[in-house]
């Protein structure tokens, strides 16, 4: 059974999330490139994984026993880099090199350049299959580590996601947890306002259950719910676990939230400063 996070841990995680979001918008502004909406919707889950759930050691990022993480929606790389920097994998200042020549911080995660990245991604739909391979590799070699993976809802349109879903349940990969960052937007999608805009994927719960997965649905911006789901996942046997994380694209900055155009827009200096203000207010609330 999982015990709720105590007040201290909870505010610690909330503060890290806010810092991560700050770093995301600052870095994208500085680089003049990158994505915003997807990294911001993913921030709380990424923080919870690296500061609460996963067994990792930034001092020894290649430790064979470490838990693995694959960012299948690789365009959200800057979200992961922000969290890795905060966690001590590399100096925060290095974020300033994001997307520039010879940087370890590539537009999409490159496992050969940056220690701490467990898989290279960027072409959507592939990361989850590699995560299935890692979880299967652990089982075949009687290794204890767990594998975590995050996919996008737009990404879930790729057939490969469902090929992976099928194999993971066939091999009963209960050491695999996939988180769906269900922010209800993709890059362009089916245009239309309000309810007439089709979500990237319908009925994810029924779909994943039909593929033989154990499904948990949460508010992906609530650290209590994220922690509870992740510890619950440890108790599931014989099935891989899907956490449907209900999120808001661009979370934390009102003028970015829920607007598909912020998928990869670059904030101006003014937008950066009003966004920073909002993020600070958010923590004090």
């Amino acid at each position: 059974m999982s015990t709720p996070l105590n007040e201290e841990k909870l505010s610690y995680l909330i503060e890290k999330s806010s810092k991560a979001r700050h770093l995301i918008i600052q870095t994208v502004h500085h680089a003049g490139a990158g994505h915003i909406g997807g990294p911001m919707s993913a921030s709380d889950v990424l923080v919870n994984l690296y500061f609460n759930e996963m067994n990792v050691n930034p001092e020894n990022p290649a430790d064979e026993q470490r838990d693995r993480f694959v960012l299948s929606k690789g365009h959200s790389a800057i979200g992961l880099y922000a969290v890795l920097a905060l966690r001590g994998y590399f100096p925060i200042e290095e974020l300033q090199t994001f997307d520039s020549l010879n940087s370890r911080l590539q537009a999409h995660p490159d496992m050969n350049t940056l220690p701490g990245l467990d898989m290279s991604t960027g072409s959507l739909g592939q990361g989850i299959s590699a995560a299935v391979g890692m979880a299967l590799g652990a089982k075949l070699q009687n290794k204890e580590f767990r594998t975590y993976c995050m996919i996008g809802d737009g990404e879930s349109q790729e057939g490969q996601v469902w090929e992976a879903a099928d194999i993971a349940s066939k091999y009963k990969l209960d050491n695999l947890v996939v988180i769906l960052d269900f922010n209800k937007l993709q890059q362009f999608g089916w245009q239309g306002k309000g309810a007439s805009r089709a979500t990237p994927i319908n009925e994810p719960k029924q779909r994943w259950e039909a593929f033989g997965w154990h499904v948990i649905e949460i508010d992906g911006h609530n650290h209590q719910e994220i922690s509870k789901a992740l510890s619950h996942a440890r108790e599931v046997t014989g099935k891989p676990v899907m956490i449907i994380s209900n999120t808001v694209k661009g979370k934390g900055v009102s003028f970015m939230e829920g607007d598909y155009l912020w998928h990869s827009r670059i904030p101006t200096a003014e937008e950066l400063s009003s966004a920073s203000e909002e993020l600070e207010m958010g923590v004090q609330k």
Partner: protein
């Protein structure tokens, strides 16, 4: 020498979107097919201007290309656009079996081709698409040099019945062709005469080759520049003639040195008229995310690198006499 490069720069993708909208308004059979990149490829012009002709297929390129094949089999003419990297690598089996082999009337737009893809790095760059598409039987492969040529090529492709691959660039390029330009399918375009050496280029490298030629002329070297908008079928005659006229060739493309225009030209020369030649292209390397100028320099395809290769090639010409 008067510059052949206009100061005006226009994006190929903007003209692509406008032209496809126009075609969709003129022809009953034209449909725009998107893989969730409409606001990048600019096929969103059809979504806005003629929404009933816009079909969103989601982020599922393999399915998208097979659906396009099915649409074509019912008599429609689908124009499917996504990043060249995903079109040429993610969906290539579908394209081979259901579009190229049956010779269906599907137009494939490889947006964001080459190295300069808006700082998105090696997963999104496309340095292999010419090699891949060129190797498929029945496939036409086109690479425009500027936005004017994009429009003309699309009018050709619309009339041509069969699979056509067109590689486009993301960022604006100088205008080379004026409004009177006529695209001739399968024919080389002689942009500049010269007697010492010929540069044969395609796509975005044509404007860099013209810039290189201006610099070389200033150094007293007389350079011919031939633009190859049709990479397949290739204008062999023009290549042989160039070899006869100048005795040495340099090729230039924003693509890998393997399998692209350089390889295609070398194949012709070796069989028909062996002369020294050098290629300008990305070596056997993975690239990265960085600013355009940094990438052009590091991966050795800037106009400065074309100048360098031309001078190197000239030493081969002289020593082979």
């Amino acid at each position: 020498m008067k510059s052949l490069l206009s100061k005006d720069q226009v994006s190929m993708r903007d003209v692509f979107g406008e032209t496809l909208l126009k075609l969709s308004l003129e022809s009953d059979k034209v449909y725009a097919i998107d893989g969730d990149l409409a606001n990048s490829t600019k096929i969103d012009a059809v979504a806005k201007g003629n929404p009933s002709r816009f079909l969103q297929m989601g982020i599922a390129e393999q399915n998208m290309m097979s659906v396009a094949a099915g649409l074509a089999a019912t008599g429609l003419q689908p124009w499917a656009a996504t990043f060249a990297a995903f079109l040429s690598k993610r969906a290539i089996d579908q394209i081979q079996v259901q579009i190229a082999q049956p010779k269906l009337d599907v137009k494939m737009i490889g947006a964001y081709s080459g190295l300069l893809t808006g700082v998105t790095g090696k997963t999104h760059q496309s340095l292999e698409d010419i090699a891949i598409f060129r190797s498929l039987a029945n496939m036409v492969v086109l690479a425009p040099a500027d936005s004017t040529e994009v429009g003309r090529m699309m009018e050709f492709a619309h009339k041509y019945e069969g699979p056509v691959y067109m590689r486009l660039a993301r960022d604006p390029y100088p205008i080379i062709f004026n409004e009177d330009y006529h695209f001739e399918f399968g024919k080389a375009v002689h942009l500049k005469e010269g007697t010492d050496i010929t540069i044969i280029s395609t796509g975005t490298q044509t404007s860099r080759s013209l810039a290189a030629a201006e610099q070389l002329e200033a150094d007293g070297i007389s350079v011919a520049v031939i633009h190859m908008p049709t990479i397949k079928p290739l204008d062999k005659e023009a290549i042989v003639k160039a070899a006869e006229n100048t005795g040495v060739i340099v090729t230039a493309e924003e693509h890998s040195i393997y399998g692209g225009l350089g390889s295609a030209v070398a194949e012709v020369l070796v069989e028909e008229k062996p002369v020294p030649m050098l290629r300008v292209g990305v070596k056997d390397l993975n690239s990265e995310s960085a600013k355009n100028d940094d990438l052009l320099e590091k991966y050795e395809i800037s106009s400065g690198h074309i100048v360098k290769r031309v001078k190197e090639a000239l030493t081969k010409k002289n020593s082979s006499i």
